[in-house]
Amino acid sequence: MSTATPLLSVRGVTYRYPGAAADALHDLSLDVRAGEFHAVLGPNGSGKTTLVRVALGLVAPDTGAVDLAGRRAADWPRRALARVVGVVAQREDNLFPQQVRETVLLGRYPHLSMWGAERPADQAAVTRALERCDALGLADRWIWTLSGGEYQRVRLARALAQEPSLLVLDEPTASLDLRHEMEMFELVRTLVDRHGLAALMITHHVNLAARFADRVLLLADGRSAAQGVPAAVLTHDTVERVFAWPVAIAPFDDRPQMIPLRQPKESA
């Protein structure tokens, strides 16, 4: 394993929402390094999105610490942080109609001066980002004409236009069909392998996370149920316990794959 400073380092973080009865995150630790694809799995309400918010410095942990590229998350000015971390959030709006190239150009904001215009280098970065996401052909389309899969690729391109070292993706394949799910995972894998990015992806796809990710964090009630390489984390007992449903685990391409069973067992 690389010994370089992790791009994201979460150490012993506990966070409780004001007025909540239980911790949303409890004593959680996580390192994401350059060239590493890290997936976070867990049932609904297990703290996946809270983890993202804490990791990005949007929420301050009650105890523990979060560092981004060696600097305390809360100490980063947002513009400077946006040059290091690109985020594909779960949701976004489109208040006004936009074209694809325009919306990707918004990713250049952290690189622009307050009064200056976009430079040729910014347009070049947009083109490069669109190319990497196989979305250059969409550049002149209006956002509303895109399919769900195309739109997600465009959003990823916008994050890449920021030229970040770390990509954070919160359920980027939600409501996408098989082909577009696979394309998104392949794309993230390629970005990590070819361009040395670090990726942290929240996902519900146990099997795709097992196939594509280097490391997996399995969350249950805000705690780490297991953490490490997919084969070590996605074991029969752990997956059954965390997701509260009987499963079978079978290896495929040296990676564990999960098959949910039809009936809950009497004991479960």
Partner: protein, 318 residues
Amino acid sequence: MRRWLGLGALLAVAFVGAVVLGPAHVALRDLASSDIVLSLRVPRALLALLVGGSLGVAGASLQALVRNPLADPFLLGLSGGAGLGAVLAIALHVAGPWALPLAAFAGALGAMALVYRLGLVGGAQLDPRVLLLAGVAVGAFAGAITTAIVSLAEAADLRNAFLWLWGGLSGASWDTVLVMAAYIPLPLVVLYAAARPLDLLALGEEPATHLGADVEPLKRRVYIAASMLTAAAVAVSGVIGFVGLIVPHITRLVWGHRHRALLPAAFLAGGALLLFADTAARVAVAPRELPVGIVTALVGVPLFAVLLRRWGGAGARA
């Protein structure tokens, strides 16, 4: 470039029209020496330009801030507050040339402070949806008090108050022009500096944060600067509706939604629209004069209906 030249030409035509046309006939060759032109029409045209421009910019910024393309600068309760201040000054017969504008300005600032306070959720975050609702509530409350005062006022005061509430530029003088010209650059610069982050805000607050915008300070700056512009406009010219609503939509059709182009275009287009409307208000029933807010409403509402249909069409495609 062609669009800017076109807008410049439109503005020039509007300005010349405002100076040349009027209930009193002034021969073209006497324009430069006519007292009516120099001390009435020119300052009035300049004031129309500044007020219309301010309302256009305030409307465009607020629509981005509350993330609602149907927002109007007066929707945030400022007109109610300003109206209350003005009507109080009229009913109490406060004397002096600046009494009415100052009272209206104070009323608008009071409403702004109240709406802002209500819009701060949990004392920390400015919630644009709450801001909008607070604006409507404060405006309605101020409107009720205003109506109570007007209904108890004497007939002459009532007419004055009524005319003021519909807006007009008949109070224009070189003094008001200079005060406006000295006042509006600061809020205009603040809003222009926020142009790029406002583009990001259209995606939502959290996506804007991820792209590098400091969303909380941004919202506060934009709200206060846009409200200060609106408060000044309402102080010198009463409640002139629809300019702040319509102008951003028209300019968005031509310049797109990017605020670095949209805000300057909204200023020039707002100025041109109000110049045309004020000329019409002075000429249509000469020698009497219509409140200019009636003209902007008569033009604005049908235009708005057309835009709504277009907008609905775009939404249906989304």
